[in-house]
Symmetry: D2
Subunit: 375 residues, 4 copies
Amino acid sequence: MQKNTNLKSYSLKEVEYYKVHGRTEDDMYPLPLFFNGSGVEVNVTGSELWIDLEVDCDVHEPWIWTAINGAFMSRQMLLPGSYSICLFRSMSPEAVKNVKFMRELQAMSEDDSCHILVKGFQTDGFFLPVSDRRYKLEFIGDSITSGEGTYGANEDTDWIAMYMSSSRNYAVMVSDALDADYHLFSQGGWGVLSGWDNNPNSNIPSRYEKLCGLAGGEFNEKLGVSRPYHFEKWKADAIIVNLGTNDASAFNQPAFTDPVTGKTFKQRKNPDGSFNPDDLMRFEQAVIDFLAMIRKHNPDSHIVWTYGMLGYDLTLAITDAINRYQKQSGDENVAFLQLPNTTGETVGAHAHPGVKSHERAAKVLIEYLKPILEA
Amino acid sequence: MQKNTNLKSYSLKEVEYYKVHGRTEDDMYPLPLFFNGSGVEVNVTGSELWIDLEVDCDVHEPWIWTAINGAFMSRQMLLPGSYSICLFRSMSPEAVKNVKFMRELQAMSEDDSCHILVKGFQTDGFFLPVSDRRYKLEFIGDSITSGEGTYGANEDTDWIAMYMSSSRNYAVMVSDALDADYHLFSQGGWGVLSGWDNNPNSNIPSRYEKLCGLAGGEFNEKLGVSRPYHFEKWKADAIIVNLGTNDASAFNQPAFTDPVTGKTFKQRKNPDGSFNPDDLMRFEQAVIDFLAMIRKHNPDSHIVWTYGMLGYDLTLAITDAINRYQKQSGDENVAFLQLPNTTGETVGAHAHPGVKSHERAAKVLIEYLKPILEA
Amino acid sequence: MQKNTNLKSYSLKEVEYYKVHGRTEDDMYPLPLFFNGSGVEVNVTGSELWIDLEVDCDVHEPWIWTAINGAFMSRQMLLPGSYSICLFRSMSPEAVKNVKFMRELQAMSEDDSCHILVKGFQTDGFFLPVSDRRYKLEFIGDSITSGEGTYGANEDTDWIAMYMSSSRNYAVMVSDALDADYHLFSQGGWGVLSGWDNNPNSNIPSRYEKLCGLAGGEFNEKLGVSRPYHFEKWKADAIIVNLGTNDASAFNQPAFTDPVTGKTFKQRKNPDGSFNPDDLMRFEQAVIDFLAMIRKHNPDSHIVWTYGMLGYDLTLAITDAINRYQKQSGDENVAFLQLPNTTGETVGAHAHPGVKSHERAAKVLIEYLKPILEA
Amino acid sequence: MQKNTNLKSYSLKEVEYYKVHGRTEDDMYPLPLFFNGSGVEVNVTGSELWIDLEVDCDVHEPWIWTAINGAFMSRQMLLPGSYSICLFRSMSPEAVKNVKFMRELQAMSEDDSCHILVKGFQTDGFFLPVSDRRYKLEFIGDSITSGEGTYGANEDTDWIAMYMSSSRNYAVMVSDALDADYHLFSQGGWGVLSGWDNNPNSNIPSRYEKLCGLAGGEFNEKLGVSRPYHFEKWKADAIIVNLGTNDASAFNQPAFTDPVTGKTFKQRKNPDGSFNPDDLMRFEQAVIDFLAMIRKHNPDSHIVWTYGMLGYDLTLAITDAINRYQKQSGDENVAFLQLPNTTGETVGAHAHPGVKSHERAAKVLIEYLKPILEA
């Protein structure tokens, strides 16, 4: 194959027009893609386009997907290194191609080395502006929002990177259908009060106010993950919380013992199988506090707490918390929406919602959000 | 056409085997079909079967549908009179045919003359036992559960009998899918606290404890509609309440003035569009009281309050009431389930849920109830 | 129920505007509804509408269905007698209601008494014009086009009237989707050359040129069923033939012996299971001759021979015949279209295509006809 | 990332168990993947698996997709070079993983350098036998069978590698549903008699008898592409031909002039738009000859000629040819099956069938083939 000698390399700093998806800060260079659904989008002419990357991880290798003109084109594993990936070749040079390069893997709290940095592009074309979509949506969640199980066979039970996605994800389906840009903030196994295993550190609210509080380690710190996130720069029209599933699991799991402090944590059930009322209140208070935190940073956003894709167990507790939050705060712009439970027909890998479950949930959310956004 | 001279007339009293659908009492003769979904079912041999009826109404003529071997066969208007209807002809005489004759029209609180009485059958075959289904489900609701809009064109806006049904009704779909017998108790326009028009008399709880408290007038009284209903004779495995839609409407409608007492009733909104908290509490108290009433008569039934097919406005108020009821009573066997809102794609006649909306709601309910019933 | 004293009776002769569906002649009074899909349609104001009928049959009672404003409303058996049926009541008087009264049962070659005559209407409103649809389609077929099996349970095996329909029929679905008026000409068990049982009289071509050559007997003769049909008065844009299924059966059935002449007829198979070439040629010649007959009466219509809803056995023979007809005639306006075979998933009563099979076939036909009609 | 030091390299010669998909010869090393749908499948334990490749092309870079345990996992472009690709990492070592590495791009007659060679694997596990599927199916076709348009946006019109696939391909869907191994033999733009542009060399029959007659050039010749293919080593239960679409186009395209000989070729239409009978006969003869060629090499296979996914224009000509072939040969094991035309709803990139069209065609074929294979 003869090399395309017309290719020119552009550091991202030199690229006049590109659009960043996912939480970010101005002028990050190289550009980190922190979350699943984080990515970079360009409109470009030319016959060929490459993206220049720097990638690392310890255990959980990141995956990415690409779209050309809005259509899914590729999905692959990224292994550590500095290299370039060809995004298209041999296309009609004069036509403007819309290209998205998107992260599949969630921010990885358990792999401090994990990162994707976009350094630049190579092309024989030139870049054109990428417009914003009509609305802005933020999705906050757990493994469901991390798309776990949207890839992989039903019998697959490993907890590994390749089963997570933004490419087959209800949050992205909703955003595409409503012409909305989206931010995803999610971590598999985490909850509002504790993780699925009663680990009280695995709670989303403790990380929500930082740029990417879900990533850690020296390298990521240098990227700024722990800096306060500037909510006012990207005002979400609606914020969709999809949490509670792991908090429900915690009631059925053994106590968690902190390896450092030796302290234990456990959400208890009564002998008759009902929830221990004190622990339920503790969960509800976490919901109330998180709603207050979200509202503080997003004064005008519609907030809808969604629940149900992996069971309805905490429906009453969540709604009780929302009601109490509403009475305390007078906040009338908060709502509860149940999403259809995952069934044998709609399940994916690792007993998580499959793509059919995501499609079904997306439909309910699209119908719910449409009139609210258009109001 | 030559008359089938082998036909023999059987008063219902002489029919050894038949099954009554819908609330009833032992040995009613003639047999009144009070509700939509009320009906009579037989297993019969022979080539031909007729049913002998006595029908009346002032304004709202009853409709019925029939099924042969479980398949929808006919649907028609019944006008006043004493007459017989042929349910099948020319069939293989030796085969056992399962035949259902079912009422489409809800119990009609606004037409005291309205009734269907089954007096007997004519056949050249003989009757065989009809078995019970595996489970028993009771559905309590408003126009949605009365199937309003499941027949008729989207542009139809008359409030008339022919648009209501049990033949295209989520309650029946759920019951068929789960192998369950069903009771329907519903009235279009009614709520838990008041009707859509703020009429405080149009509340379901005030009628729930009577055999068919939704029907009135001298004739119906003689049939026993106001007698206490014997809940213990037909123990529902689950009770599905689908109320709140008209209570939500009341907040947007003018005050109701009682034509007799001159007293007015009105559920108010605040100037900012939010619900008046006192009136919301009044609604919630009605929900709490109704749950207590249902539980009193059905100590072992799973109770699920469903809501959403015509809007989610009172989701938080209903869940608040359920939570409060649960805390007061310690009743752990009560739940909340949101049903998908009706959309432009799924709407039927008179701006009510169409058959597609009923099918979609049924799917969610089937998935919800299956593990509970099988537990 | 108080009688509506504003009702006025109109003989059909007095009704200024009504539309007849199905083959008919000008000014027939009373109006016979010969075929499934035959019917009468009115646009009418008023609160109430009745239709006045005269009905008879020996064995196979006719069924009808009605639609209000395009939506299916009722379906019922008609027994012999002169009587009136209420089509709607209590509707907003000023609104114009579109009402269709349609025959479900095919023209009944085996019941000379069978007929439905429309004598007039009763209403408190007045009649308005009913417009023609954009296109005209004629469907010629067998039990598939008679809708056999579109009602009834999968296990039902009787050959009786109530399982046939025009209300769940691919021909009507196609016509509705394409904004087309339609004529149906079909008879269960019949073929191009012979019936399913090798009866050579059960061939559609021998009856096609008469008004309703499928009905017989003294009464029907007086109605004019044997008069030549005036094709030029209703010029079909496309003619859809769906025949061959019973001709295929004949190869697998014993010989037919004419009870009068004693002559036998049999389509034979070779010992190896292939078709006897002479008998196949005899079938193909019948196809060729029928195409020529259809073309003679419909010089400008697109003719498409469809096949496959109950098996693909004669695909090659039918296409061979069409090719030979085309070469002989130079007729370029004839085509072959395969329709999807009925499967376990789509089957209806009596091992015939169910409503899902009709829907699927309709989709293929709609897609096929749309560009041809719009050309 | 720490390197997995337990990885061992295996030349393909050393791999005891692996399964080759697509036409191949015994013991090819390195293993060329000639066609879309060609690939290599292993059952392997261990935590990690890599594949060692040698890839080249001039213009049309090959794409591949992978599946883990039967579920689609990745899809990516392969650029020239010798390198390894990681197929999975971090999986439970003891579990047996089924892995497929499959070519997306058709054999590329227009790029002599294009090839993918599999040299071996690296893993920390061991290989286990891969069983054959129950049936064997061969699909012969054009761009439809090359999956052109199954990836890419509807507005994409480039003729490039990335829009073709075996991963979203009716042939693979059919094979998966019927538990069948499959061979694909297809080339975009080619026909039975000539290509879409009247190029008489672009005919599939001229290449069918060679191992991979669609690939050329020195390198591919050394791989053995022009060697006679040994049909008797992989006996197809059914052979599905999907050709004629480009032959139909040729009638509407200008004449082709051979750049070497200067000879022209043109399938003509008559002034009235009908096909020139001589040219149609020439096409039909090519169909007849190809059927004879297929039969010669596959004496026991069921042969079904399918047609229609991009228009029905040559339906009658194809069936005429099949009929004539059948009469000449007495071959009763050949059939014709129409596949549903692609519509605005089902179209993909480059005006070719999209994934919905492939799914729909697959359904018809699955239903057709199932009883034949099971007979």
